[in-house]
């Protein structure tokens, strides 16, 4: 193996950041033991990362420490010892009978849960195949495309935990939305995506159905120009959809 080539392949960064596969991890750990250079490269990157993290600290809420200490109970208290329960003597046949009853119950339970799991997997598989088919025609967009810009839309006051990601192809003007985390809308409402240009919202379409499938990219209306993107929650039967009326859930700039 060419150690230098291996080190500069990106495996070191991938391993340390937790992005390597199980197989890659095992191999990397073996090489670390075998080659001091690999180990050194790992430590070097860990130190770079650590230094970077230490330069970007956010001070936690002052009450957090006591909350943690309370929860783990590190007050120096010693846990009481549990007295062992005396065991009565039983004949071996009773043990065998008891053991077989337990085994039967466990096995029944296992069969049922395996059957359920299997059904669930089948359903999930069908659903996933459908979704992948739907996306076939979108494939060009993010593939080898230097024009794609990304905007992280962050939760606004209506829903601080929400967020979504917009990928915008500045050459073809295609807009794709990844609804990472949006609350399920009430049945009479739907989400609407907007491009923001000089503070003016431009309608990029509705996404009522897709928010549940948060892992998939949804193609929206094209945007010629945009400085930022936002999502609002709107009534479904609105007559004029060109202006937002509902609450803003997420927003972010390019």
């Amino acid at each position: 193996m060419n150690v230098q080539e291996y080190i500069s392949s990106g495996i070191v960064e991938s391993y340390v950041l937790g992005l390597a596969s199980e197989e890659e991890r095992k191999e990397f750990e073996e090489y670390c033991q075998q080659y001091p250079e690999v180990m050194k490269a790992r430590t070097d990157f860990e130190l770079v990362l650590e230094k970077q993290a230490m330069q970007n600290i956010i001070v936690p809420d002052p009450s957090l420490k006591s909350r943690i200490w309370n929860q783990i109970g590190v007050t120096g208290k010693v846990l009481p010892m549990v007295e062992p329960v005396p065991v009565r003597k039983m004949s071996w046949i009773k043990y065998v009978a008891a053991a077989s009853v337990i085994l039967l119950i466990v096995s029944l339970y296992w069969n049922i849960s395996l059957f359920n799991k299997n059904q669930e997997l089948k359903n999930n598989y069908d659903l996933a195949s459908e979704k992948i088919k739907e996306m076939e025609h979108d494939k060009q967009v993010l593939q080898q495309n230097p024009h794609v810009k990304m905007a992280s839309l962050k939760g606004m006051e209506a829903s601080p935990q929400s967020f979504a990601t917009v990928y915008w192809d500045t050459a073809s003007h295609d807009v794709y939305l990844l609804a990472n985390n949006l609350p399920v809308p009430p049945t009479d409402k739907q989400y609407q995506l907007w491009a923001l240009l000089d503070g003016q919202p431009i309608d990029l379409g509705m996404l009522d159905y897709y928010v549940k499938q948060k892992k998939l990219l949804v193609r929206m209306k094209n945007a010629q120009k945009a400085q930022a993107f936002a999502i609002t929650l709107e009534k479904k039967d609105r007559s004029d959809v060109s202006k937002p009326q509902g609450d803003m859930y997420v927003m972010g700039n390019l």
């Binding site: 392949s9 990106g10 430590t43 929860q71 996306m135 985390n181 009430p186």
Partner: protein, 165 residues
């Protein structure tokens, strides 16, 4: 006493590293209050799982950093679907301008550096590191071969490294 010594070590870890770990949690969770809740779970996990930390596999900080990142991603994936929906009107245009600038300020650390990567590489690092999608999921979602996803993510990480050094 061992228990006592562990408490001291744990206090040391909290005092020295809670801020750095909150930095990474906040890059993923974005909401400050939730990020603090996640950090609480991170330290409880560190306390409970410290026996499983193996120094031959990396530095303690790296181990804690990965616990923090995973906890933040779990939080984002599990919560939020049942959020209460408050009534907040769509802001006026001048408020939008202010809020958009505001989002820039919250992007610190690795997330800010991410902005320097070119389009596609940035998307890949965002999806894998900050959103926790596996290479397989990304490969399916973007319809790219798995090998391509892997090599491009590695390329992106190498570039990121030169940017933070």
């Amino acid at each position: 006493m061992l228990q006592h010594r562990n408490e001291k070590a744990f206090t040391y870890l909290y005092d020295n590293y809670s801020g750095a770990l909150l930095g990474i949690v906040n890059a993923i969770v974005t909401d400050k209050e939730t990020a603090n809740d996640v950090l609480q779970n991170v330290f409880i996990n560190i306390w409970r799982r410290i026996e499983s930390y193996d120094p031959s596999k990396g530095r303690l900080f790296t181990w804690m950093l990965n616990i923090a990142r995973n906890a933040a991603i779990d939080e984002v994936r599990s919560k939020g679907y049942n959020n209460s929906q408050k009534n907040v009107p769509f802001p006026e245009s001048n408020e939008i301008a202010g809020a958009v600038t505001g989002t820039d300020i919250t992007d610190v650390g690795l997330k800010k550096i991410l902005g320097n990567l070119k389009g596609e590489l940035r998307v890949l690092v965002d999806m894998s590191y900050f959103q926790g999608f596996t290479h397989e999921e990304i490969s399916k979602a973007l319809n790219l071969p798995l090998g391509t996803v892997k090599t491009r993510i590695r390329t992106a990480l190498i570039q990121l490294r030169t940017m933070i050094q």
